[in-house]
């Protein structure tokens, strides 16, 4: 992870660490904080704790998003501090609805100059974001909103498994990961397990991201903690609740960053500090999908 972030993350880049409420790659975000990158444009539909931490650490100057919240808990206080008070530095916002962000990624992924969607009519959002336009349907049925493509310089995406070439499979919430991967100029995939190519080839319908568009594969078990990975671990809700309290003060936030990010060398040390007992508690019982038969045709 250290090498991948050092190789692919530079100051001033636009980066998407995506995954809707799950597969959130804290390991990568923390490494970016440790490497003290600056002036990043961060994009994410739901910034979540990870972007709250990164923005509190001062890595970002701009945020492109659609929902600011600690999911199921409350506010993201660090982002609010940056927006409302400029602490630790001012943060420019570029704001969409969820479907607007999905549509921007979809346009970027398919090299389309725009993507149409039934949203924004009557809303104030287009008034504060000139990227959202309302056009006339060329077939004469009325008004329709469009958004332009969004192509991050780099996407970092977490998943269950990939082969060494980056052919990546995931299951559970598919979110917008596929669209982000294809929209990004470069892609780092972070996985719970590296598997043999034969595992990928035995179920090709599950391959969401082909190695063709992947620049680096990082093996980082529990790399999405305290968010979750379907079938591997649950959300560590205590961490989400604790963040809600401690992040209300910048001083406490910085102390947390010192303890959990700057003072650990990497994610392995972070997990050691967390303790095996806590990780074991997050393990779900198995719930296996039944096998399907693709058939051999020769």
């Amino acid at each position: 992870m250290q090498a991948a972030v050092a190789a692919y993350v530079q100051d001033g880049m636009s980066i998407a660490l995506e995954g809707f409420t799950s597969f959130i790659c804290f390991a990568a975000g923390h490494e970016i904080i440790r490497q003290r990158r600056r002036n990043l444009t961060l994009m994410r539909m739901t910034p979540d704790l990870l972007y709250d931490q990164m923005i509190a650490a001062g890595v970002a100057s701009k945020l492109i998003f659609s929902y600011l919240g600690n999911p199921g808990v409350g506010s993201l206080y660090c982002i609010r501090r940056a927006v409302e008070k400029g602490i630790p530095r001012p943060l420019e916002l570029e704001e969409y609805s969820h479907y607007g962000m999905v549509a921007r990624y979809a346009a970027g992924a398919a090299r389309l100059p725009f993507y149409p969607l039934r949203s924004y009519l009557g809303s104030d959002l287009p008034h504060v974001n000139p990227q959202i336009k309302i056009i006339d349907d060329p077939y004469g049925t009325g008004k329709i909103a469009v958004v332009p493509p969004l192509n991050p310089d780099l996407a970092i995406l977490h998943a269950q498994r990939a082969d060494a070439q980056g052919n990546t499979q995931l299951w559970g919430l598919l979110g917008m990961q596929k669209e982000v991967a294809f929209a990004a100029k470069r892609v780092i995939v972070v996985v719970e397990e590296i598997v043999d190519e034969a595992v990928i080839r035995a179920d090709p319908n599950r391959t969401l991201i082909p190695g063709l568009i992947v620049d680096a594969v990082v093996h980082e078990p529990y790399g999405a903690h305290p968010s979750y990975v379907q079938g591997y671990y649950d959300r560590d809700n205590a961490a989400y609740l604790a963040w809600d309290k401690l992040s209300q003060e910048q001083a406490n936030t910085e102390a947390w960053l010192d303890e959990w990010v700057y003072s650990v060398a990497n994610h392995t040390e972070y997990l050691e500090k967390l303790g095996q007992a806590r990780l074991v508690q997050l393990k779900p019982e198995p719930y296996l999908a039944p096998a399907v038969d693709y058939g051999r045709y020769r």
Partner: protein, 255 residues
Amino acid sequence: MSELAYSASEMMIVIAARKLKGARTVFVGVGLPNIACNLARYTVAPELELIYESGVYGARPERLPLSIGDPTLVSGALSVISMADLFGLYLQRGLVEVALLGGAQIDQYGNLNSTVIGDYQAPKTRLPGSGGACEIAINAQRTFMIMRLKKRAFVEKLDFLTSPGHLTGGNSRTQLGIPGGGPELVITDKAIFNFANPERQMQLVELYPGVSEEQVQAEIGWPIRHAATLSVTPAPSVEELRMIREELDPQALYR
């Protein structure tokens, strides 16, 4: 159990559930609305399937979901798909019959603000933003708002219009080409409102037991309009309360 031994949240859950009678699909968030939809499924809407913006259709969660993307919503669901497909093929296609929404501010036409309090560029309070609310409000066939009555929430003029309701009233919504039917009900902790008049203005239709019109008006920033007939909402039944307390939210997380 006495007739009044229920909380405001329980009442809101019960009313939302009752109003979902016969519905086939509901677009839902976590917390109180999630409990309401499950209560409806066990009572008045046995065919009801829950749709979550995280990409889940037909969830059967084994616990109360902690967030809209809780893994318990995925395991055992009928279909789990990309958000592009969820928003495009379900919501925008018109397959969402009822959506439950809330916000920090609502006006008399059911328009919602969940973006900022104060000026957008220099906000007093930065709220979460739209999430999926803007397109949900536009595309759902019917929308129920669930919000506690508060003067700072029921305002004459929104600080920001995030999600369109009936806009400036009358047929202004349809004229703009918005496909979904718009706000139908506002379910609060004291009373129920609908928009069943030509001007599409929020109007008081039901008062909860023991609540006066004055108590309602005191929490609303404009002179309230009344429906032709004003009734009193039946209190939660023993069975409704039992299901909430024993089965749907045994840990009392949302009561």
